[in-house]
């Protein structure tokens, strides 16, 4: 081995280098740590409170698993487990195939109106889950228009829960399956075609395997949505017990927090399992995606396109019939005797009835959630992805950000009551305020928002921060001059997502609202309880209208934004 002049033998055992940390890095690290602690406080602590409560008696004494033994010894309660599971399975078995065929039609056919079908199919997302329940009561209830179709069976019970849940979960399943189908590589189909593969074989060897993970993921989402949902079984479930309603009954009805905690944990279990399966599938779905995939472009085929069009038309009309019935109910004078149209449910029922304030509260809450939530979610995702060091804290934040998707809203809300309403808690003052409603909603919908932010940030060049440092530009300056503008579409998307969900959510907040912070979705529940189905439908319609307006606004702003920034977003323009 030659030793040219520039190579030196160096003394071994030198001291480990401890780099100086710039105050800007300290600032970033401090903020990330603060984010981590906030997530722990507003997510982990409430969940821990449930665990603690479940092994205590009413007086706070440790009783081990006694509460659980009690619970399983009460048939009225433990029957709910079976009820919940089979209803969720039936809903999954109906929704996922429907969503798959619908998505297949949107991606694999050349039928007319694909964009319109796609938009209309997503409308159920804009409505609280109470809306389909109200609507199906109007269609099939005691005085329902189509009651005869049920042939004597009652809509109040599993039937109503299943059809309402199918309506509510359809768009969620559709979006996942649609993504899976869109990610497929058109070259596979070309290769198959060159080998003269028949259509059915292409379907079973390319399409279905390609969508496999998406289908499983969709099934898990539908299953956990149905298990977790509180609004539908509360409104249309009749005497049919479901876990989510049991939690509510124990806590709000009987003030039995310990039994509520036990039911909450029982409710958590299936959702957690579904969540873990889904998490594993999401990873594989992404691994399957190749950056070089060429999108599949379907060829026109008259009979296939016609069949697909007919299917989508029927499904879409059914979806619109649900929404339409709720809107119509809100506009007719007195079901079923006076069907003339008027705004009296809005004016008399809501404004004069003193519940319009709930709608205003919901708007306030949704705007605050959209605004503050988006800032927090994006800032934490940025610190996570684009700063150096803090490996342990980052691992903790990643885990904390993933958990909310596996926690039903009822469980989160229950945890908030138990934790923040505890007399000794210094944060006790939050209870019943708009602040805690905003916080719980941000946490409840944290995971999806976080993933959107992380995906957008990962798409940025990894070296922006290094370049900034070499140019001696502080990180926060690059954050606001480059990172935020480039990620703006994703940021707006998060804002819209949080706003819409804050408008329709009911599960977590049903435990947390105070006399002055009642929300629109809760008002729907109360009005329906009081038999005021007209005003209840009116309130639900207001929620849908508000969410729709925000979505339209989002679409317009995004379009203007993209048009304005097209110069840099569309590479390849002639230099």
């Amino acid at each position: 081995m030659a030793t040219p002049a520039a190579v030196f033998a160096s003394p071994a055992a030198a001291a480990t280098v401890r780099p100086q940390v710039h105050w800007q890095d300290r600032l970033a690290q401090g903020l990330l740590l603060a984010g981590c602690l906030a997530l722990a406080l507003f997510l982990l602590a409430p969940l821990a409170a449930i665990l603690v409560k479940s092994v205590e008696d009413r007086n706070g004494a440790f009783v081990g698993l006694l509460q659980f033994r009690d619970y399983f010894a009460t048939p009225a309660l433990s029957r709910s487990i079976w009820n919940t599971l089979w209803v969720a399975l039936v809903v999954t078995a109906i929704t996922v195939p429907l969503a798959f065929i619908y998505a297949y039609a949107l991606t694999r056919s050349r039928m007319p109106g694909r964009t319109v079908f796609r938009v209309l199919a997503l409308t159920p997302i804009l409505a609280p889950s109470l809306l389909p329940a109200i609507s199906f009561i109007q269609w099939f209830g005691n005085q329902g228009l189509l009651k005869v179709l049920l042939g004597g069976a009652s809509v109040y019970g599993p039937i109503g829960i299943v059809i309402s849940s199918v309506y509510a979960t359809f768009p969620h399943a559709l979006m996942i399956v649609l993504t899976a189908l869109l990610l497929s590589d058109g070259r596979l189909y070309e290769a198959a075609e060159s080998l003269r593969t028949p259509t059915w074989r292409k379907f079973f060897t390319i399409t279905l395997p390609g969508a496999k993970y998406g289908l499983v993921s969709a099934a898990m989402v539908v299953f956990s949505y149905t298990v977790s949902d509180f609004g539908i079984p509360k409104l249309i479930g009749g005497q049919f017990n479901m876990l989510a309603v049991d939690v509510y009954k124990q806590v709000v009805g009987q003030q039995n927090f310990n039994k509520g905690a036990v039911v909450g944990l029982v409710l958590l279990l299936p959702v957690l399992v579904a969540f873990i399966v889904d998490w594993a599938m999401q990873g594989r779905l992404q691994a399957q995606f190749s950056a070089r995939a060429v999108p599949y472009v379907p060829k026109p085929s008259r009979w296939f396109d016609a069949a697909m069009f007919a299917f989508c038309l029927v499904v879409t009309l059914l979806l619109l019939a649900v929404l339409g019935m709720a809107v119509w109910t809100s506009l007719i004078k007195f079901w079923p005797y006076d069907l003339s149209l008027s705004f009296r449910h809005y004016t008399f029922g809501l404004i004069d009835g003193g519940v319009f304030g709930a709608y205003v509260n919901s708007l306030k809450m949704a705007f605050a959630t959209g605004l503050i939530g988006t800032m927090i979610v994006f800032a934490i995702a940025y610190l996570l992805e684009k700063t150096r060091g803090m490996a342990a804290t980052k691992a903790a934040v990643r885990m904390l950000a993933a958990i909310p998707m596996g926690v039903p809203g009822m469980v989160l809300g229950l945890g908030y009551i138990l934790f923040f309403n505890a007399p000794g808690n210094p944060l006790n003052f939050l209870y019943g305020t708009l602040t805690i409603l905003v916080i719980s909603t941000v946490v409840h919908y944290y995971t999806s928002s976080h993933l959107t932010a992380v995906t957008a940030l990962k798409a940025l060049d990894a070296e922006f921060e290094s370049v900034s440092a070499s140019l001696k530009v502080p990180f926060y300056k690059t954050f606001h001059r480059v990172t935020v503008p480039v990620c703006l579409p994703a940021i707006l998307d998060i804002g819209r997502y949080l706003f819409v969900n804050a408008m329709v959510t009911i599960s977590a907040v049903v435990f947390l609202y105070g006399p002055h912070t009642r929300l629109a979705s809760i008002a729907v529940l109360d009005l329906d309880d009081a038999g005021d189905i007209g005003p209840a439908a009116a309130m639900a319609t207001l929620i849908v209208v508000s969410s729709t307006l925000v979505c339209v606004l989002y679409a317009l702003v995004t379009r203007v934004l993209l048009a304005r920034t097209q110069a840099w977003r569309q590479p390849g323009a002639a230099p």
């Binding site: 040219p4 002049a5 480990t16 110069a567 323009a573």
Partner: protein, 359 residues
């Protein structure tokens, strides 16, 4: 200080990632004004070393002195360098002008001064008219020129180039490497470039640092590296080379599969097994039985002839018990003159001065 002084001095740089030793005690001096290239296969630690010099990674142990100042513990933002990445890393939402001005605006310079400086840099990289465009509207090569201009704008003492040409197509790569080299020599800015492309390294560098498995194998000028490789790895990594197994016979003679050849290494004891290294272009092949004077000439046969444009790569099997194979680069004209058919007998001259024994 004059050009040629030590500008960057690394001493005992070690870096581990978990159990993986990325760098094992690297010591190195970069002279003021020179362009030094870190060359090696992927995973050899060259990029890690560059990032440590930039302060984007922190070494476990070791010191870095730049321009007389110990920067070992300084965060990146307090060091003095400009950097260009393979991905360009231009800010997509800012115009070319704003990209180049990005590091100037922060230094509280007057607006006219910034404008003048940006225009100067645009002229320097030959893109005077592109200031109002966005990065997405430029070709890859143009974007990399802008990235270079952005890095040079604050007039850093040190320029770091991290595989700056790897994302470009072949033609653009050759053009831009000439431009970067000319620019660097004109400005006299001390530059460290990382690449895995040996041709790039040979054509651009004042000195090359060949790295392998976290160690420096050799430091030298491109000619030294090519002509006098210090280790088998360097010989093999830079250009093509033939390796012949041989046994020393003493007195500077070596037995290659039954053939006796001379190599100017009388110091190696008889019986020692060695490897002889010889570049393909140094092998002389004749089909007419001619012998190059004063060289080891042995008999062999043509195994195959591969046309490569400027020359042909001729695979040869040497006669003798070992039947060792080697490759020779033969000028196209010589091949055209005839006789280069597979199986044809040839005489092969192995010039003693061109043969090296390594390791």
């Amino acid at each position: 200080m004059a050009p040629g002084d030590t500008f960057v001095k690394l001493d005992g740089i070690r870096k581990t990632f978990g159990r993986f030793e990325a760098l094992r005690s690297i010591s190195l001096e970069v002279a003021r004004g020179e362009l030094m290239v870190f060359l090696g296969p992927s995973g050899c630690g060259k990029t890690t070393l560059l990032r440590i010099i930039a302060g984007l990674e922190t070494q476990d142990t070791g010191t870095i002195v730049q321009d007389g100042r110990d920067i070992s513990r300084l965060p990146a933002i307090r060091r003095d360098y400009g950097i260009v990445f393979q991905s360009y890393a231009l800010f997509p939402n800012l115009t070319i002008f704003d990209n180049i001005a990005y590091g100037l605006v922060n230094r509280r310079q007057r607006r006219e001064a910034i404008r003048a400086r940006v225009d100067e840099l645009l002229a320097l990289v030959g893109l005077q008219t592109s200031g109002a465009k966005y990065p997405g509207q430029l070709s890859g090569g143009q974007q990399q020129r802008i990235a270079l201009a952005r890095a040079l704008a604050p007039a850093p003492g040190l320029l770091l180039l991290d595989e700056p040409l790897s994302a470009l197509d072949a033609l653009e790569r050759v053009r831009l490497r000439g431009e970067i080299r000319a620019l660097q020599q004109r400005l006299g800015v001390t530059t460290i470039m990382v690449t895995h492309d040996q041709e790039e390294a040979l054509s651009m560098a004042d000195r090359i640092v060949v790295m392998n498995h976290g160690c420096i194998d050799q430091v030298g000028t491109p000619r030294e590296i090519y002509e006098l490789p210090a280790t088998p790895f360097v010989a093999d990594f830079i250009g093509k080379i033939n390796v012949l197994a041989a046994t020393a016979e003493g007195g500077g003679r070596f037995n290659v599969g039954g053939l006796s050849v001379a190599v100017a290494r009388p110091d190696i004891a008889p019986g020692t097994a060695v490897k002889l290294y010889l570049r393909p272009e140094d092998v002389v092949v004749n089909v007419d039985g001619a012998r190059a004077p004063g060289s080891n000439t042995v008999a062999g046969r043509i195994a195959k002839v591969e046309f490569l444009g400027a020359f042909c790569m001729v695979g040869l099997a040497l006669d003798g018990s070992g039947a060792q194979r080697l490759v020779a680069n033969v000028p196209r004209q010589q091949v055209d003159a005839g006789g280069f058919a597979p199986g044809a007998p040839v005489t092969v001259s192995l010039p003693p001065a061109a043969m090296r024994i390594l390791g």
